[in-house]
Amino acid sequence: MEQFVSNFGLLLEFPVVNLKIVLDGIMIGALFALAAYGLALVWGVMNVKNLAQGDFVIGGGYICWWLTQMGVPALVGVPVAFILMAGIGWIIYILMIRPILDRDLFTTLLATFGLAIIMAQLLNLLFGSDTQSVDLGYDTLYFLDGFIDVPIAKLLGVLMAGALALGVILFMKFSRMGQAIRATAQDARAARVLGINTDKVYAFTWSLNAAICGAAGAIIVMVWVIQPFYGITHSIRAFVIVTAAGLGNLPGVIAAGLGIGVLEQYGAHIFGIGYQQAIAVILLLLVLIYRLSQQRRVRQSLR
C-alpha cells in the first residue's frame, strides 16, 4: 500500500513522468484500437462477439516472429501476417462461424472461446511458451534531458497502425465490397433483396477482421512482447474498447483505444506490472457498470 502511494506521489513530483506514460500509452493504445476496430466490424455486421480476437492478434505476431527467425526482414512480416491471417480467417469462417451465424449470441461467444483455446494451444505447441519479441535494431530518441525516450520502432509501429487503419477506412468508404458490408450491417435482409450476396459479405468481413488483427499482432511483436496465452487479455481489451465506444463509432473506438492504453500504463506504474491483466479486466467491469447505470436511468438493461 505504501508503495502505491509513493508511486503515485512520484507522478505529482515529476510531471514529466506523466508525459512519458501518456506517450507510451498512446503508442500501445493505437494497436489496441486496431484490434478493437476489427471486433466492432464483426460485431456490427455479423452480430458475432468474438472471444478469439486476441488470439488472432497473437497468431499474426507469431507469423511475423517466425519469418524473422527465417531471416526475412521484420517489416515484410506485417503484410504477410495480414494475408495469411485473412486465409486462416476464411477457413475458420467456413468451418465454424457460418453454422452458428443465426444462433443466439451466447453460442457464438462460447464457440469462439473454444477457438481461442485451440489457437492458444496450437501456438504453444508450435512455438513454445516463452515470451517472444522482434528487435528491429533502430535507435531511441531522447527528449527533455533523457526523461522521455521514444524508440523509433514504436513510432514506426504507430505510423503503420495509422496507415492500416486509414486504408481500411478508405476501403470501407469507397470500394464496392466496403459499401456492401455497410449495407449488410444496416439491414441484412434488405441487402439480400437488393442483390448483395450476404454470405460472401460475412465471409469477407470475418477474414478482414482476422487480417487486421494479424497485422496488429505483427506490429505488437516489434514494439512489445507476445506469448501464446496473452490472447485472452487482448480480447478483453478489445471488448472494453467496443463496449465503451459503441458499435459503428470509429472516433470513439480510437479514443477509447488510446484511453485504455494510457490508463493501463498508469495502472502499471502505480500498482506494478503484476496487476496488468487485472487492470484490463477491472476497466471492463467499470465500463459495463457505467453503461448499465446509464441504461437503468431509462429503465433498460444492457443487452
Binding site: 462477439k49 465454424m96 453454422p99 452458428i100 444462433r103 443466439d104 449470441l105 451466447f106 453460442t107 457464438t108 461467444l109 462460447l110 464457440a111 472461446f113 473454444g114 477457438l115 481461442a116 483455446i117 485451440i118 492458444a120 494451444q121 496450437l122 504453444n124 505447441l125 485472452i232 478483453i236 471488448f239 463496449t243 503484476g274 496487476y275 491483466q277 487485472a278 479486466v281 477491472i282 471492463l284 467491469l285 459495463l288 457498470i289 448499465l292 441504461q295 437503468r296 438493461s301 444492457l302 443487452r303
Partner: protein, 346 residues
Amino acid sequence: MSKKFYLYSALIAFIIVAPFAFPDFKTQLATVWLMIIVALTWDMTGGQMGYNSLGNITFYGTGMYVAAVVAIALVYDVGEYNNAFGGGIYVFTSQQYFLGLILGMVAAGVFCSLIAVVIGFITFGLRGPYFAIGTLGVAIAAGELVSNWDWVGGGQGISLPVFPGDYDVGKVMFYFLFAGTGVILFVFAKWLYSTRFGAAINAIRDDEEKAEAMGIHTLQYKLAAWAIAAFFVGVAGAISAFQLIHFEPLETAYQTINLGIFMVVCVLLGGAGTLWGPVVGAILFHVFKEVTWNYLLGWQWVALGALIVVTVVYFQGGVVGWVMDKFPQWFGLSRVAEDVSEDEQS
C-alpha cells in the same frame, strides 16, 4: 414400489459401492462428482434461468480460499502461516483438522452465497453475452487480485494440513464428501425445479419482461438462484482445497479456462435446461478428458477446444436433448410437446 424406486436404489447402491469396487479410481470418481456438482449448479442459472455465466469459477476459488483461511485461522495466525513458505513447523491435531474441514465447508458455502448476491446485484442488469463477459471479467479479476494478496499466500498459494490417518481412508472420505454434496444437490434441484421457484426462473429464461409484468420480482429470483448455485460451488471448492492439500490462485483456484469453461461444456454436452443433462454431460466430459489426457499428450487441449467447438456448433441440444427428441415417450412427452420444445430451442 414403482420402477423409479428400484432405479434410484440401484443408483445409490452403486454410488456407495463404487470407490470400493474400483479402488484405483477413487480420486477420479471424486473428480467426476466435482464436475457433476459444478455442472448442475451452472445449469441452475444457465440452463434453467437463461443467464449464461462464465464466472461461476469465482465461487469455486473463493470457496477454496475461505475454507483454507478458516481452517488455518482456528489454530494459527494466517499471514504468518502463509509467509513461512515451509520455514516454520505447523502441526494440526486430527481434531483441529476435522473441525477446520467442517467449519471451512460451511463458511465457504455461506460466504460464496453472500458474494453471489453482491456480484449479482451489479451484473444481473446485464443480459445475454454482456452477462457472460462481465462474469468472466469478475472471475479473472478475482484470480489476479488474490494472486497479488500476500496475506493469503500471493501467487504461491496455500498449503493445507494433510489428512490425519491412512492416505487411502482420506481418499474414500473425500469421495463421499463430494458424492454426498452431489446427491444432496441433485435431490434439492429436482425438488426446486418442481416448485413455484422453478417455474419462476424458467419464466425469466423464456421472457424476462413478461415475467416481470406478471408480477415476478425477477431480481430477487435471480439473486436467490445464483446464491444457491454459489453455495454448492463454494462447498465443492472447500472440499477440493482439502483434497488437493496445496493450491495456487491462477491454475487451481480461479482456473477460468479449465474448470470454469468445462462446467459450461458439461452442461451443453449433456443438454442444458434438463435435470439429468448436466450429470450425463459431466460423466461423458470427464471420461473424454481423461482419455485425451492419456493418449494425446500435448494435444489434449486442442482436443478439448475442438470438443467445445463441435458441441456448441453442431450438437447443441446435448445427449439428453437428443434422446428427448428421438424418444419423447420415455419422458412422458407427446409429439405436440416435442414441437413446443423445438420452438423454444430455436
